[in-house]
């Protein structure tokens, strides 16, 4: 997994609450058996005026020009600024795969849905929770400031605005450790194989029907 340390990234707004993972990557793209190539279809139904199909060349599709991802000022964005309950609904990891493939490295919102939040860390994306009032202020600054960048420092757990305001954020120390080091947590768990076997022996004694 790609490690995350610091990032100074252009910000794109996703200014609506309860953005679900169906919206991030619609059903027809879930048929892929690969992890890559979802970026052109990120937010497909909001981004294009026609219906997208897997494998389609998106360069000639009619764009919804009002949608933030299509506005030239946000081209190349690496940070997505979002609202409450971002990533709700389906557990599809295709959503973070699509964000990652598009080029997003960090997300900022007042809250995230849990499965999506966890899936981000498994793919080197950093979801940052900031207070709703702070997020509101960032949305206003972003709207008013072309080329708006935020500086994200994972070791220090801070988001710094162009004006120099510093907003601290919290995250689970274990997730931080894995993300900073780009660690695959299967490898970490495999270090505890003996513990898992001992646990199984103890469970088997009480609930043998689970081990047939």
């Amino acid at each position: 997994m790609r490690a995350f340390d610091t990032l100074d990234g252009l910000v794109v707004p996703m200014d609506r609450a309860n953005v679900d993972t169906d919206a991030m990557i619609p059903k027809q793209f879930l048929k892929s058996i690969r992890k890559s190539g979802f970026g052109p279809y990120l937010f497909d139904e909001w981004r294009y005026l026609d219906r997208g199909e897997p494998g389609q060349d998106c360069s000639k599709r009619p764009l919804n020009t009002g949608f933030s991802l299509n506005q030239p000022r946000y081209r190349g964005a690496q940070v997505m600024l979002a609202r409450e309950n971002f990533g709700c609904g389906s557990s599809r990891e295709h959503a973070p795969w699509a964000l990652d493939d598009y080029g997003i490295r960090a997300l900022i919102a007042p809250s995230f849905a849990e499965i999506f939040y966890g899936n981000c860390f498994k793919n080197g994306l950093l979801p940052i929770v900031l207070d709703a009032a702070v997020v509101d202020a960032l949305f206003r600054d972003l709207e008013a400031t072309p080329g708006y960048h935020l500086r994200i420092d994972l070791p220090a757990q801070t988001v710094t605005t162009p004006a120099g305001a510093v907003h601290g954020f919290t995250l689970d120390p274990f997730r931080k450790y894995c993300l900073l080091n780009g660690l695959d947590d299967i490898g970490l768990t495999m270090q505890h194989m003996d513990d898992i076997r001992a646990y199984e022996a103890q469970r088997r004694a009480v609930e043998p029907w689970l081990f047939d």
Partner: protein, 467 residues
Amino acid sequence: MNPQTLYEKLWHKHVVREEPDGTSLLYIDRHLVNEVTSAQAFEGLRLGLRKPWRITPIIATADHNVPTTARAGGIADPISRLQVETLDHNCADFGIREFGMNDPGQGIVHVIGPEMGATLPNMTVVCGDSHTTTHGAFAALAFGIGTSEVEHVLATQCLLVKKLKSMRVTVSGALPPGVTAKDIVLGVIGKIGTAGGTGYAIEFAGPAIRALSMEGRMTICNMAIEAGARCGMIAVDDTTIDYLKGRPYSPAGARWDAAVAFWRTLVSDAGARFDCEVELDAGSLRPMVTWGTSPEMVVTIDGHVPDPAHEADPVKRDGMQRALAYMELAPHTAIQDIRLDKVFIGSCTNARIEDLRAAAAVVRGRQVAASIRQALVVPGSGQVKRQAEAEGLDQVFIAAGFEWREPGCSMCLGMNDDRLAPGERCASTSNRNFEGRQGPGGRTHLVSPAMAAAAAIAGHFVDAAKF
């Protein structure tokens, strides 16, 4: 020992080891696998030169992509076909028990698991599907995971997780006639919101929950994720035990007696402390209908579409305005005046035999309204389909003008050919009314099976209880 919640009991029984920061290695007893979220996990396993830790906890089925029309000719869409075949190959390679597309045991993974007795109390149950919450109805700790975690469970039989906070939703009183488990859970989501359960494990309790069948309880736990909760659960009682007895994967003989004695302990102790308590009076509930693009946008059948002008929170108001524009609905419209184009009875929420019986009871001897373009009944599993046919329910639906289909996820998310055309409006017994969920531009109203059936007959929403 301090009184414990059901969640605490399930949690502590599955912790293999705990790090100082609370991150825990949680053992997984049952791993359900579908075709959509597993291919990349199996690929990762191979790339890492790993094998499944254990084979027997894994049960696989193809449910999302499968056609619900005749299947003898296979899947026409080559991309869907490849995904289903990839699951077949992966299961064959690793020796995993799969209920493939043409197996009599095939069905929606959250329907076939319980009906085979493969979901048991005190199990941890995971699947790369958010509606894995369904299995919590059996006092199991059941939750949806992403594909990276599918790979993690395949490789280690464990997951790295942290303990959740606990919420108890107590539903007191008794349900009025015509009000169902679906209406309870929509009522709960309407009350706490789609993020109300974020960070919590929800236990559903109280007399109205105890009075439900296992199928009703599964409907409730299924939609815990729609309240934002990672898992929902219900304590063991006689209803749980009676349901499990004699099922293929249930323990039998002396083991059954030992299991029952053990399972009986899987209840929240008197005096157990929850981090949050929510109460709902079943007697005050009515059949529910969603009007917007989030399951929390819900009112009763005798209600009206709300007016965003009355919402003080600007973010919420904006969401309501977007939803009304997408749904092409005006504020103050009576719910009963909303006319429909399609009706879908199916999904892991409401495609079990009792759901089909409830819908058939409304439909019997009546005709689908001429204005309805399509009315689908998609049983949740091969077993549900055969049972319904043995009871003659298929003929009731067909005589009324419904289409009777093969089991699968179908129009809940439209990964196969069953979907809404742009602008079409659907009464659906599924679980998500998100924009485009049932097809790009499609408009979904979530209801119970009886309400969907009544809407098919009337052509618009009506109170199924008075119908």
